[in-house]
């Protein structure tokens, strides 16, 4: 088992943002985390990466307990992530941004640069290598974050809304990129609002509501689960919307 989170709970004061959530991840999975705003999926995500300390619970990575490890130590083990709001290194060029990731596996500058270039090649940003990162727009930044994360040579890549704010064509390009990454043998966890993305990528889905896991299974199973529909729309609206497909309701292709 690659990643195994058991009974993860994160409380802010008396408020439990995540309440005893568990998840397992096998090599080759693409796990989708979905749920309405404020459902706790981002908090859960940050508990896995080490950005937030757990209130209780345990996280195992390749059977090692990493619950107490700092984010940088988890990165060294092979856990990489992107951010919902891109955290680009503004003062650097695109290439240098990716080199930060590459430096994890080599202390040498030339080696890091070579690796960063090959990652840029892979994600199709080679020509922008020397552009200042701050000149990028949202799509560029999102892609750059993925490139950076790839440069750390991860076993698991966690994508936090990597497609939010992209146009449909850009989303399609991003999906192609994620597929490509998956084909190269990297296991993925994706938090995503856009159902289309989850439907076409995820092999398994976990649904959060009010800090708790309310459903899990294949994308199709989950989207037809009444509890999930109720969570997204409220019970009354769920009845009123009975005639629509669940995908549309959840902000699928119609948006």
């Amino acid at each position: 088992m690659l990643l195994d989170a058991r009974g993860v709970t994160k409380a802010f004061g008396s408020f439990k943002a995540v309440d005893a959530a568990s998840v397992t991840l096998e090599q080759g999975d693409i796990l989708g985390l979905i749920g309405p705003n404020g459902a706790g999926k981002s908090t859960f995500f940050n508990c896995l990466t080490g950005d937030l300390a757990l209130t209780s619970g345990q996280v195992l990575f390749e059977d090692h307990d990493i619950t107490e490890l700092l984010p940088e130590a988890r990165a060294r083990l092979g856990l990489a992530r992107t951010f919902q709001v891109p955290q680009t290194f503004e003062g650097m060029t695109v290439l240098e941004n990716v080199m930060i990731g590459a430096f994890l596996r080599t202390p040498h500058r030339a080696e890091a640069e070579a690796r960063a270039r090959s990652v840029l090649e892979r994600v199709g940003m080679m020509r922008l290598a020397d552009a200042p990162a701050r000149s990028l727009g949202t799509p560029g930044r999102k892609r750059l974050e993925i490139a950076r994360a790839l440069a750390t040579e991860p076993k698991v890549l966690l994508l936090d809304e990597a497609m939010a704010g992209l146009t449909q064509r850009e989303v399609q390009l991003a999906i192609d990129l994620v597929r490509d990454i998956h084909r190269s043998g990297i296991t993925l966890v994706i938090v995503e609002h856009i159902m289309e993305v989850i439907m076409s990528l995820a092999s398994r889905v976990m649904v959060f509501h009010q800090g708790k896991e309310i459903a899990r299974g294949s994308p199709r199973e989950v989207t037809s689960d009444p509890a999930v529909i109720a969570a997204y729309l409220g019970t009354r609206a769920a009845k009123a919307a009975a005639g629509h497909t669940p995908i549309e309701l959840m902000g699928g292709p119609a948006t």
């Binding site: 950005d51 940088e72 990165a75 290194f89 430096f103 994890l104 080679m126 922008l128 799509p139």
Partner: protein
Amino acid sequence: MRRTLWLLIALALVVAYPLVFTTPFQQRLGALVLLYAIAASAWNIVGGYAGQISVGHVVFFGSGAYAAMGAYAHFALSPLIGIPAGIVFAVLIAAVIGGPTLRLSGHYFSMATIAVAELARLIVTNTEYLGAAVGLSGPTVPRNVFDMSFISALPYYYLFLAILIITLGITWWMTSSRMGFYLRAIKDSERAARSLGAPASRTKLYAYMLSAGLTSVAGALYAMIFGFVDPESGLGILISVKILIMAALGGAGLLFGPFVGAAILVPLEEISNSLLGGKGAGLTFVVYGAIIVLIARFQPGGILALINRLWAKRRAKPTEESISKEASHAS
């Protein structure tokens, strides 16, 4: 290559300065520019590159100054012997206070460093061994050349220049190594840097210790040229602020920023004091204050950043379209 050419020209100018401007005051002014450039460049490592605004760097400055003067005052040794001792002491202090304070974010870090500096000043003021409020004096009549007490500013000038070059060399080496990359990344987003495996706390601590060691060298040199250190001139918070202002004014986080800042501020201060100070109406500081305000208001990145930007404008800038075009092309 063009950059190298410019660097060589600049270096030639700096080497030639005291031979062109030959009066003792001009030469000393040149030496002081280099001295403050050393201190500000050292500060730049942690304040500019790592973005940790230390306002208490005078602690390290003071440990160098006191070590140099102490070597002479207590052991009748050359002040030069004090330099390594000062470095060791400064690096130790940095290691001890860096651990807890570098965890603090933004303003809290700055405040903590101010408190540490004030604490050091107060303790030294009450320590007889360090001369208490009277301070420690160096050799006024030199016994030999190693007493570093010269009439002419020329020996100081070239010594300071050599050390400035070493400091900038270390800085350059650091910035082009993994550590430098990590520091800049931590400055922009510590969270993202850590997610990519950058050991943020350790990297910052190393930078802090490196910066502390170099700052203490500057302090030792300062004590040598003035032949004196007391709690105000060796540990006064205003020295820290002055160093910080020079780095910020020239361009924090840029290799030559602190030098540019020192080359502007030191002469500005000394010359405006020479012209206006004797009138006794405080006009020096009105002018000085106004200039600082204007620069902060209109050129917050520092003067060198402005020059770099004007320089970069001549290059083509990639646009948003080219990015998405490229992306679609590649996928």
